[in-house]
Symmetry: C2
Amino acid sequence: MKTDVEISQEAKMTSITAIAKKLGIKDEELEQYGNYKAKVNFDPSAPRTDGKLILVTSINPTAAGEGKTTVTIGLGDAFTELHKKVALALREPSLGPVMGMKGGATGGGYAQVIPMEDINLHFTGDFHALTEAHNTLSALIDNHIQHGNELNLDPRQVTWKRVMDVNDRELRQIVVGLGGRTSGVPRQDGFDITVASELMAILCLSNSLSDLKNRISRILIGYTYDRKPVYVSDLHVQGALTLLLKDAIKPNLVQTLEHTPAFIHGGPFANIAHGCNSILATKAALAYGDYAITEAGFGSDLGAEKFMDIVAPRLKKTPDCVVVVATVRALKLNGGADKHDLNTENLSALKKGIVNLKRHVEGMQQYGKPVIVAVNKFATDSDDELTYLLNYVRNDLKVTGEIINSWAQGGKAGVELARKVITACDQPADFHELYNHEESTVLEKMQAIVTRIYGGDNIELSHKAQLALKRIEKMGYGHLPVCMAKTQYSFTDNAKQLGAPDNFTIHVSDLQLKLGAGFIVALTGKILTMPGLPSHPAALDMDIDENGRITGLF
Amino acid sequence: MKTDVEISQEAKMTSITAIAKKLGIKDEELEQYGNYKAKVNFDPSAPRTDGKLILVTSINPTAAGEGKTTVTIGLGDAFTELHKKVALALREPSLGPVMGMKGGATGGGYAQVIPMEDINLHFTGDFHALTEAHNTLSALIDNHIQHGNELNLDPRQVTWKRVMDVNDRELRQIVVGLGGRTSGVPRQDGFDITVASELMAILCLSNSLSDLKNRISRILIGYTYDRKPVYVSDLHVQGALTLLLKDAIKPNLVQTLEHTPAFIHGGPFANIAHGCNSILATKAALAYGDYAITEAGFGSDLGAEKFMDIVAPRLKKTPDCVVVVATVRALKLNGGADKHDLNTENLSALKKGIVNLKRHVEGMQQYGKPVIVAVNKFATDSDDELTYLLNYVRNDLKVTGEIINSWAQGGKAGVELARKVITACDQPADFHELYNHEESTVLEKMQAIVTRIYGGDNIELSHKAQLALKRIEKMGYGHLPVCMAKTQYSFTDNAKQLGAPDNFTIHVSDLQLKLGAGFIVALTGKILTMPGLPSHPAALDMDIDENGRITGLF
């Protein structure tokens, strides 16, 4: 069987200029990065007719792999198969995890975006630009303290950490500024992974270059000795930081194996950030395509909830249809099956684990838009398992369910699903807010997410989180939406609680004010904002020969 | 008067495909990055006739600015003016200093490489790729220690630091790995600026992708508890790191304001590293052009010495002519003039400071190739000053000297200089090694550089350096060339000693083994491998408006 990288390398790519032309992108709007990647100088203010928006989400991810990106890409290719004008809007992969765990973020099998090596490595440099801008701000903050500290910034209360697009646990907690008078001021600090940077969220939520600059101005970087907030605008460096992101803000265009256009832009993780690709890329997909298919990170409890509650109000558009991806294997794992024994038929585990899918579907249904279940077929699924799953979806959940097999067969194996999605998009449906965005308190918002999406009972704030909440409300920011940072593996804040647990409490350890992004991050459980590498990192098996041929990259 | 960025923005650029065509670069060898930048898939193994090589260097840099890059670019445009097939080979600017001090690394006035904003910012992402690869190795090292430490690596003896392309003094000396059992092993560490990374030197000295991988394998990352060396090859990650540099190794092509092709690739600083652009870019310039003009960093005591003693043997080609850039202003500063009073005629300061030029010229003459002095004219230079300087060069130093005024007038104001350079290139001349590369000891090599290039008497090794030397010789690496890390402002290791001091000693504080690069770095004086930002960083004055128009970037 061919590996993903082999399939990708054998693909006949169409030139990116031809892909752009197909979408109606003008020559002067296109900046090529080699022959198969481009940035698009998309003007979101130009009046256009918006296409239909399809949001793809999934059950909780497991070690079995759900293939949400694979389904999204396969669905896009199925639209192409049906001669629909479609564009994908996906997130860019982060390099840190690429070196850690095997498994790409560019789909798999015969449903991939290409050139996959480039997309998975440096791509067009957006994440590096974010890393550079983020750490430039860090240096400017410490430099201000070093040179007289006119703003009276308290080194113990600097909230702006540093970032790197590397899985490096060694940098989670560090002490900087050692070495004496000329080498800075000693203080505690730490690195997050770049995707967790507030600048990443800002880039993804900005509607224009000036929106980007305004948001950067508003970033809270810390507090003075007398506990007054200090913003980027106080340092006067929003211009320089925006300058560093002038190209990163432009959506990137690539293609799938079947030449469906794909905008790949921005990549916050959904467990530690808001988990959706950029608003500009989604707008570009909506403007150039009759159908825009986007994907939100991890399960619907994370990325999709944030898409609905944080992104949609800024995009000024809600999905016309929500697709929840499920697999027999992952549901069996959720039902207690051994992860080394997923190739064997196990109906009882499937029946037990299916509650996970139920809760995801019902969570999404609360937003009022049509929900469809896409069953991503694996070769090892038995007919009985697939039949049980589809029947459960159709008869018990009473929603549309279809199998998609694009991993093995590309777009043509997703045509039935695509037809159902097209029908759903034409269904009139009102969007329902999960909570009142104007009037709910921070606690009420968290409570709504925990009870209505996670299926839990309560939230419990640590002493630190309580103090943070008090300060946030005193500062007048209680109206902002909440971005939950939570493990992706469970509805609860404990990664080991699979299925659909009941009667649980979500533990909030801290609340962080992200004024540039325009939300409050609630850190729950033991969530880490800097991952580590495993004992056998994927990097050990990668290679490139003298002709540039790559092996071991998925 | 227009600023550099204004002149650059008003320039009518030729498409990079047309520039490439002019040089005879084939379509399939070109990877566009937008319309005005490209990477060239240059095959250095293809047999071609090499052009003539011209090396541009200068006197010691001062606060007055010498304009070495401006002269290099102006000289290239003068060759174009004379209808010669010429290509430049320059270094890429580092982003860290761009945010700190005003002053670009892309020339100035009417002698610039463009698009200057892009080149000065992220360009084609090479430095970011190096940063990523460097820090990925750091993470893999600490991850190895965390997961059982099979290699028995001593955390106190890890010599591989981390890097960032930001001027951030706060990161010079840090403690990492705090936070308990799951967050790494506590140890001392620090960040260098990316241009000081051994990977930067390796990229610039590699002749092919497999040479790059072999060099990476050989990198020394630290020692075991029983003091045995540990290499990248012991970690088995040379493939992954090379993969991360697969595009960075390809030379970048841009143009000057007058459409002279310029390869801009690699950018080690000459004070803390070897200070020359990549061998592949220089080879590309030599292969595609009849004349290749390259530039080495800072004064001839740093970049040019390293070009002759480290680069040339690996390039397998020595310069056909050396151009030493001097200015009236900088020589006056070297002669004791006040830096705020350089616009006034001051012949006595000029006469006193001219010894600096003398030593640079005589240093370069020892290599046996023709040396020419280029006087970079400033509007404030008086006729008497210029006449004195030219007469001194011609009559006392007995070398060719010409004025170049390309900053104000572009290539046509460098034509006389270009003619002299062309004549010099046709002069038969043998290259003389500064020291015997096969047989000299480490001390003898340093002694040769100090006495014959710097004009000093002695070297003195700290206790730490003596121990390091003993270990290097015991390990069998005493045959490697030495890369001096020294202040650029003086022939001595004290930045304040201008002119041409006599009877001084160079103090070596440490010797570092860079086995991938293939040299030993000698740290002298108080040289820092991570710069800081000034009290008013240039970043504070930069801006970009809603249409993407940039201000304050030079």
